[in-house]
Point group: C2
Chain length 294, copies 2
């Protein structure tokens, strides 16, 4: 990773982690629900989604401040989805990023409600963003529902559960990932562009770029589950094989999966080349997604 | 109940029940999640909240159509809260309105996601409402988050769980109900007024009216749990006593609870008298809430 990229990621991660808790701390709500919401928000992670929002503002030469509210809203949605995914009735995970999952600390009922609270609150961040136009706010909310709701992440999660231990076609696998993880990642890119008042032509290209990056991200995940280093990833490898999950390497072979990953990254970079502005940060994030080790 | 009120309630209930499913049917999402969302949306109930939205539009002489999207959004939020409340980790209820609860039919994981999906989708209804101004949409979303999130319904649910089997003061009990059920009921009234472009003075009075009606609704609930007819309510009476829940009759005696109910209804009616328009429908709904038998 170049030191420019590394500095960019680190400084933006810090910004997000500094600003995110304030949106919860200021709420007039029972301490327990605030604690539970904050616990998972503060549990770390790469903060890739909010960083993408800020990377787009950077790309279009706009102030970072314009992206903070939406970036934090996206991280809240991502966090709520992890809390609900970890529940005993879903993936039943005791650990997330090396720490006890929300329901292990606060109990299942509070974990369900902490997720509900984060999901609900995220919309407030967008509509109360002091820097965003009315028109953009409405567009951002509408696109967020499509990315996070039954037509996006929630629908993808259902399809993923239904596909477990079944042999899926490449098309089915792709559709699951497009919805389950791809659309929120894509939204992170598009929302940054909307906030930057980027040309509509660019936004449509960025939608495609987000699509390719979302799938590339997931293919890399599948590869890491076989070839990754447990110490660096922070979770045991081989869980997909153990759970008989359909993965890209399983359908395409490892070599085929790597070729598919390259293909998506190449497509994304080609589209970035055709934007109305140059974006070396976006190109570098593409390369990072292709090569990430955790 | 007067035949005018009865006709009003029936016709609006029918409108809501006709329109509500369309917002889900049109989604491009896996059939299972749509079925699970529709199952609970179609499970019936009084539809009091959406009817209140339409009653406000009626009060201000505006077209009912202006309220449909927000009314349906509120019913989606109410329904999601029931699905999550019924989960084994929360109230663990097998039946709701005489039918198996969502998780009994679709399993816990799908029930969690159906709730998440309904909550997320509700915001789309408001921001994509073809009849509402941009300014009103943003205000409606912002107020909805306050009513439904950690500062409202979700926070009230947490406080209610934490207060179980504890002796609560009247003030604590009131705060729980104000958040858990009051704020969404209050929002139904305010949102109708916002959609009708009612004068700000009226909206502030309606906020107080909503506060009194929300508490009156809950006191009546507590009374019905002791004096109600199981056949008419559709669930066993005496569950509050059994669960050692703090209720209004428990703190105030039955006579005191009825006096408190009267007090809230009287306050609400007095405020309705001072609105810039006459509203016999609102007055009649007040009386209905005071005397309802289910």
């Amino acid at each position: 990773m170049s030191s420019v990229l590394s500095d960019f990621l680190q400084s933006r991660k810090k910004t997000i982690e500094t600003r995110l808790p304030d949106y919860i701390k200021e709420l007039e709500a029972p301490e327990t629900i605030k604690e539970a919401m904050l616990y998972s928000l503060k549990a770390g992670g790469k903060r890739l989604r909010p960083i993408l929002v800020l990377a787009l503002l950077h790309t279009y030469g706009k102030r970072e401040e314009l992206g903070i509210a939406t970036a934090c809203a996206i991280e809240m949605i991502h966090t709520y989805s992890l809390i609900h995914d970890d529940l005993p009735c879903m993936d039943d995970d005791d650990l997330r990023r090396g720490k006890p999952t929300n329901h292990k600390v606060f109990g299942e009922a509070v974990a369900v409600l902490a997720g509900d609270g984060l999901l609900t609150q995220s919309f407030s961040l967008i509509v109360n963003d002091p820097y965003c136009s009315q028109e953009n706010k409405l567009r951002l909310v509408s696109e967020l529902v499509n990315a996070a709701g039954a037509q996006g992440m929630v629908g993808g999660q259902i399809a993923d559960m239904q596909g477990e231990a079944k042999a899926l076609s490449l098309e089915e696998l792709q559709s699951i990932h497009e919805n389950k993880t791809g659309k929120l990642l894509q939204y992170s890119i598009i929302s940054g562009a909307i906030l930057a008042d980027a040309p509509e032509n660019d936004i449509e290209k960025l939608r495609k770029i987000g699509y390719h990056l979302g799938l590339a991200f997931q293919i890399r995940d599948d590869i890491l589950d076989i070839e990754g280093n447990e110490q660096i990833i922070g979770k045991p490898v081989g869980s997909d094989t153990l759970n008989e999950k359909t993965t890209y390497p399983k359908i395409l072979t490892m070599q085929g999966a790597k070729a598919k990953l390259d293909e998506h990254i190449t497509q994304a970079k080609k589209l970035i080349d055709h934007l109305s502005v140059q974006s070396s940060i976006l190109v570098q994030i593409c390369e990072l997604i292709a090569k990430r080790d955790h």
